[in-house]
Symmetry: D2
Subunit: 344 residues, 4 copies
């Protein structure tokens, strides 16, 4: 087949450079343009020397990028940008994957409350497919517009799905205690994520409410068939990449939990259920698109503890976006994603 | 008053060097001996250059340390050592603070199950006072033998006490999701805690059962007046010092949580209840004996989330031991502990 | 004696909070005001929770801080601020210690070249005493205005002095390869010092020329009696605190290097010459005002290698400033600086 | 062509797992056996979960691994092992790449002095080809036995070669100040490389003499045509991967240094000369086989400063070994090495 002509809007953040890392070696992709208003004209590899020899493009000014000539455009932008530009691209026949949150929440009023903006195109929210292949694979294949999931929502939903779909836990009192590496906060000049602030330090944040809460609740409610009760506490941990979600639920009926998880994900390329008794490490997926999960029932009690790890920039962002692209263009789902994690 | 003659058994680990850091500047302490079979004859400051100019002692062989001439002996040893030597010291009129677990669990059978040893002196377990001043201050003052609490148990108990003592939460379904810096694993030559293994990585461990679980349960049961149900999941986070406990409980009656916490700890020198809405950072207590706590009720629901941080080597070990010593010898409780945390 | 009334201009950076950490426990200091235009009214301990319970002040607006009522004002500001305000303070009888670079370089034209500004008060540059007590102790005692040395210059000069003062090395071809923790770059919202940029990474910077080069050259030239040739390469290393300077010089006459160093610093409280063959670690001075030095002559050749470590925020900034203050006010030099380094 | 049957002796260290990471995706390699006496029978992916789904082998006992059936055996073992087993393999027609030091130093007496052993097969030392393709490409193609270079020697030699080959610097007074990530010390249970020891810390080590010194001297002498004078100081820096070598030399004749470097490496796939004025970061080669170099002449003086970075486990070990394998088997040199570095 011919190459997929790909554009990236907002290539100066961590999801942008990560997309470039993966797409640079994708055999079916031709990078058409990477836009950045502030960096227009600067070679991408000057900002990210890791890309020297792999990406020859310079950043383009959005007005000169001719994104409407692409087959697919990724938005690796702050929230609120993709919703301004998506309709024109779709109208031009371009498919869109938004790595930000603009199309993730079906309840537009809820979205507007958490994101503090008026939504520019509620009808496209309705059309958009939530890009978690482990639940929406078929819809993604035929989607024009994919809302790529958030990093926490990916780790938490994949961890909870088998329990909730099987109906074996009390869905009214779920707890997700999640820990993220600092790259999850983006490549922004902010004091709180300086090395000297975030290193050798650990803290929770957003306990009163975090934007990923409604996204997770929506996904779990769909799996559950009705609303769920969820407490979600994110934490910042001094590492670059990785999310570790520790999930708690109360069993309401007996189940072979290990078998439940293995069966649920038996055909999934990117979800790996570890042997009983395991403790997955975030580094075991560093740089790769996998999610590794272990399920525990401490002391045989009625509390299930699920441990779910991903690389927030890969399965939690750019890798999942490439996985979605592969599906949308009829490619083998793992194309360019068959990477061995970097350990140590 | 005259100086307290202090001995330390096992001064080559992190709790040992931390004790030395604090005791070196204690105005009422004279260091008598620090024992180490393997390092006998080596100046302490050769192993720990940070102590150069502050500690002149060399490690002594245990047989030549004349610990029976001390007023107080700290055991900074692996589990199972203090119980072998404590009776002789007590008989010689020496007070003892054990920083390991030998005297923490009143139920000797339970202790033997979790620690995999036969206890050498169950009667001394009965006598020992659990050295958490915030619950046992008066008994500590008159104790001959103090069981210094574990690091996780300190952070978790201080975080849960106000809720449990006030009876406002369901004590049958408590969850403690705790994260520790790597120094909590000790100064042992083990692959799992190498820099290249533990850095840029996050994992849970001991989910099926961790030795601090029975210790925490015992303390919470005492506060509750009856047994509690607790799920405890410890994690290893890539920082040197610090514990962050994230605690979850279900409210069963209304309460002004902020007031509850402030009142409970109003007179405590080393427990600091943060303003409502706060997220304590582990570095805010780095090197100091404080515990900082914040209490949340996300979205006004019925789940209480408590965030509790300590420095595992200070309030979680050596600092609390010095606090206990101060109490046992009638000194102002904060002597040598009035330290400003090191930030950044 | 009565308390020294102290003001701090610019207390929101790392040297500011470090000054507060040290001064909070200084028995002879009363904190009068800490100014910050942007944070006026905010309690200092809200920005730096480590100071809760130790510092009660709020940031003041500079116009309302009445700094002219102080006995001493520290400038913990960006370069170019102190020179605007120092004359008025001196005229009001206030002593001044500038932790920035405004008064460090005697050659005003050289200063203006490296710092890119016109100097506001060259006459005060002439009056200012360079605050390195190990060379200028007596002048500091009687100074009104002290230029506190830079972090790299402190580590490098203390490392080179014995060789140069003794005239045993070729002063025309000195090399200083220095490595700094990230806090040396300050508490500024800049992408390059984000955790995700600086962690798990190592790089040189400023190889064509760094502002500390002329300062080091000036100090070494003074010790040498004539100009020196120096190549200075700073590096950023993924740790919060600490500078490690590795110094290279060519021997031109025989010398007992170990004895040379020990004699030079025999009476210095804060310079510790390690035994022959040692490799000082930055953590061995973490949080403390010491400089530890080792001198090597690999394979008995004619190259001397000196290893010199400090905590950049203490002996490299705030600690040295307090040491200077103690000298200026006739206090014992180590007052409030008798701290045991934090290890691990 | 048919697959290359590959064996790995000693697959439990960091160079072992890194070889597996690279070989798992090599299109021309069939992994035959990975030996480990201690771990025989354990699946490799149990020890290194990052390899789950990529490597199915279990560790074999050396006696049962039938390495003589391989086309190529890599030794990822401690020093002194390969020299015991290589002759038998060569005799059986198996090619050998030793990632340890057994065959690196041509002067056997020198080797024995630095490594403290009697060499088992000096004749094979004579035969062995030093596996630095940038100088020995043709000999490697036809070699039976390749001595894979050390990590420091790779970074330092590639940095110095252009200067020395062109004869523009004084080769009698070279200085190499090198900084390594902690994985360079291996996956060994040693206190000094624990997270709590090595994190937030920086130190030099081996200043009196490091085993890589003779290896570097040998390589530079060969380039120079006669002996060189070299001072080599290695340092441990708190990151997992990466070496940064800062090299100093004195110019003895004028040269266009930038052009010199660009020409020397114009045809090299894995050496990237950065634009003038650059400061390469170790993370810019993380996980990849590249070496990035910048050359400086500070203030136009006569000192050249070269900055050279590699990933110590890739270009400094396993990647270079695969590069050598590709050459030995007539494959495109970059096979399985076309990896985009992981940043951030």
């Amino acid at each position: 087949m011919s190459q997929i002509k790909v554009g990236i809007v907002g290539g100066t953040g961590y999801t942008g450079v990560e997309l470039l890392r993966l797409l640079a070696l994708h055999p079916n992709v031709a990078l058409h343009a990477i836009t950045s208003r502030a960096e227009a004209g600067i070679p991408v590899s000057q900002m990210f020397p890791s890309l020297r020899g792999h990406v020859d493009l310079a950043f383009s000014h959005p007005d000169e990028a001719h994104l409407d000539q692409c087959d697919l455009v990724f938005f690796a932008t702050p929230n609120g940008i993709a919703m301004q530009q998506t309709r024109a691209l779709l109208d031009a026949g371009v498919k869109v994957i938004d790595l930000a949150a603009d199309f993730r929440i079906k309840d537009v009023a809820e979205w507007e409350k958490w994101y503090g903006m008026v939504h520019a195109c509620p009808d496209l929210v309705a059309e958009a497919v939530y890009g978690l292949p482990e639940v929406n694979r078929e819809q993604i294949r035929s989607a024009r517009l994919v809302a790529n999931p958030g990093c926490y929502p990916t780790a938490v939903q994949l961890g909870f799905f088998p329990l909730i779909e099987a109906g074996v836990v009390d869905a009214s009192s779920l707890i997700a205690d999640a820990k993220s590496g600092v790259s999850g906060a983006g490549r922004k000049a902010e004091v709180g994520i300086l090395f000297s602030e975030a290193s050798d330090n650990f803290k929770a944040y957003g306990v009163p409410g975090h934007r990923h809460l409604p996204e997770i609740r929506q996904g779990l409610a769909r799996a559950n068939g009705s609303d769920v009760g969820l407490t979600f506490v994110p934490h910042l941990t001094p590492m670059i990449r990785g999310i570790h979600a520790t999930l708690y639920a109360r069993l309401k009926s007996e189940a072979d939990l290990q078998a439940l998880y293995q069966q649920r994900y038996a055909d999934e390329l990117f979800v790996d259920v570890l042997p009983a008794g395991s403790h997955p490490e975030t580094r075991s997926v560093r740089g790769a698109n996998g999610c590794r999960i272990a399920v525990h029932r401490p002391q045989g009690g009625d509390v299930v503890v699920v441990l779910s790890v991903i690389d927030n920039l890969v399965k939690g962002a750019a890798g999942q976006a490439v996985q979605n692209m592969n599906l949308m263009f009829g490619l083998p789902e793992a194309t360019a994603l068959n990477v061995v994690p970097l350990l140590p």
